[in-house]
């Protein structure tokens, strides 16, 4: 059967119900008759098969439906049970009562807590998925923020020329200021040197004058002979007498 399926896979494989398809794949794998081109497999179903009364698969009811209708399986069950009881193939003893009690407890527990437990299991799975989905969304969000930031940077690039002009003006002003400062410094330095020359000249003339005055005075003092001294003193005395006479007269 498997050898006949292998050449016509995967169409025939997909026609089988999925659990059987997986089993077929696994049984044909060790045969190594062809390359493993039985993929892609149909995915496994998410939920299990439908069950009626928690025990009997739905397929059984569908199987008996054409011949016995809707009540068929129930009639079969009741008949079997009564057959076992009446022929004493199953004997009613104390275990029957114990069985009834434990079944009551089990069914009560399932009916009361079944939905809650199923919801809890679903919540565990949902949380797992939600964490992964949250990670994915966060990654997408980060990338979108990055895109927007990039667009903003591109818009900023357009204003680049204004920025450069402003910077150029700044620098030009700085250079101008620096140049003027240095010009001032040069002027001050030159003026200092010229002032120094002027001061030197003035000093020189002053010293020459002083020197000349001193030399003249020295020579004059040297040239005063004693006779001239006596004559000048006598003249001074005559002048003083004349002055005193005029003063007396004035008073």
């Amino acid at each position: 059967l498997t050898r006949s399926l292998v050449p016509s896979a995967p169409a025939a494989l997909r026609a089988l119900p999925p659990p059987v398809a997986v089993g077929v794949l696994h049984t044909t794998r060790p045969l190594h008759t062809t390359q493993q081109s039985l993929a892609p497999l149909p995915p496994l179903p998410e939920k299990g098969g439908e069950v009626r009364h928690g025990l009997i698969p739905e397929e059984f009811f569908q199987f008996l439906y054409p011949k016995t209708g809707v009540t068929g399986p129930y009639m079969l069950g009741t008949g079997l049970l009564l057959y076992f009881l009446s022929k004493e193939i199953y004997v009613i003893n104390h275990e029957t009562v114990a069985a009834a009690c434990i079944l009551t407890v089990i069914i009560y527990g399932i009916k009361k807590f079944g939905a809650d437990v199923a919801a809890f299991a679903d919540k565990l799975n949902e949380e797992k998925m939600a964490a992964a989905v949250a990670m994915k969304n966060e990654a997408i969000q980060t990338l979108q923020t990055a895109i927007e930031e990039e667009k903003k940077e591109q818009w900023r690039v357009e204003g680049r020329s204004f920025l450069f002009d402003a910077k150029r003006n700044n620098i030009a002003m700085l250079l101008e200021t620096n140049y003027r400062e240095r010009l001032l410094m040069v002027y001050n330095e030159v003026k200092k040197r010229l002032d120094y020359q002027v001061a030197m000249q003035n000093l020189r003339r002053q010293k020459e004058q002083e020197h000349m005055i001193q030399w003249v005075e020295k020579n004059v003092v040297q040239s005063i002979t004693p006779q001239q001294q006596k004559e000048s003193i006598a003249k001074c005395i005559l002048d003083l007498k004349a002055l005193s006479k005029s003063a007396h007269a004035a008073v």
Partner: protein, 227 residues
Amino acid sequence: MNLNFFDQFSSPSLLGIPLILIAMVFPALLLPSPGNRWINNRLSTLQLWFINLITKQLMIPLDKKGHKWALILTSLMMFLLLTNLLGLLPYTFTPTTQLSMNLALAFPLWLATLLTGLRNQPSVSLGHLLPEGTPTLLIPALILIETTSLLIRPLALGVRLTANLTAGHLLIQLISTATTTLMTTMPVVSLLTLAVLLLLTILEVAVAMIQAYVFVLLLSLYLQENI
């Protein structure tokens, strides 16, 4: 058809072939092995969550050296839990009602904890024989008492489990026999005994789970003292 009430506890055999091994392996058939899917079906998810819960509870008081025991303690817990719960179904055989099996579980594990403690930290584990703050006069007597209590631990573990389960099963059999017998003569009293049986069944479910938990918890406590 049992002639006496103790035949239910005899080890089952078919044509002379002992079936005890099948009875012990059967609970494992009920646990689906987690497949290599990321999101499992409800049963696998619940099973994984439950095993994680048990392992965390057992391993929190232990330090890193004790984590080597995680696998055996968790699998022991799952085994005892399922075996006890399955034994409540009618016409089933519970392996944990056999003293031989419970002692075979308790004795080696207890001995392992004892030898670990004596080998790695002998003075600390021997120090557990004397509680702190005892008056000097009482020390010899207390050491004898503590040694006895230490040596009796495996017996206690095994017999506790056996006695609880055996007693529970026996009680269920007796009361259900009473119910069956009284049904023909005094139906009302039979209904009363049926009510008692219902309550007893609920108790037995609780006892099954609690006994498994107590067994593993005590082993982990002995481990904490010695590791």
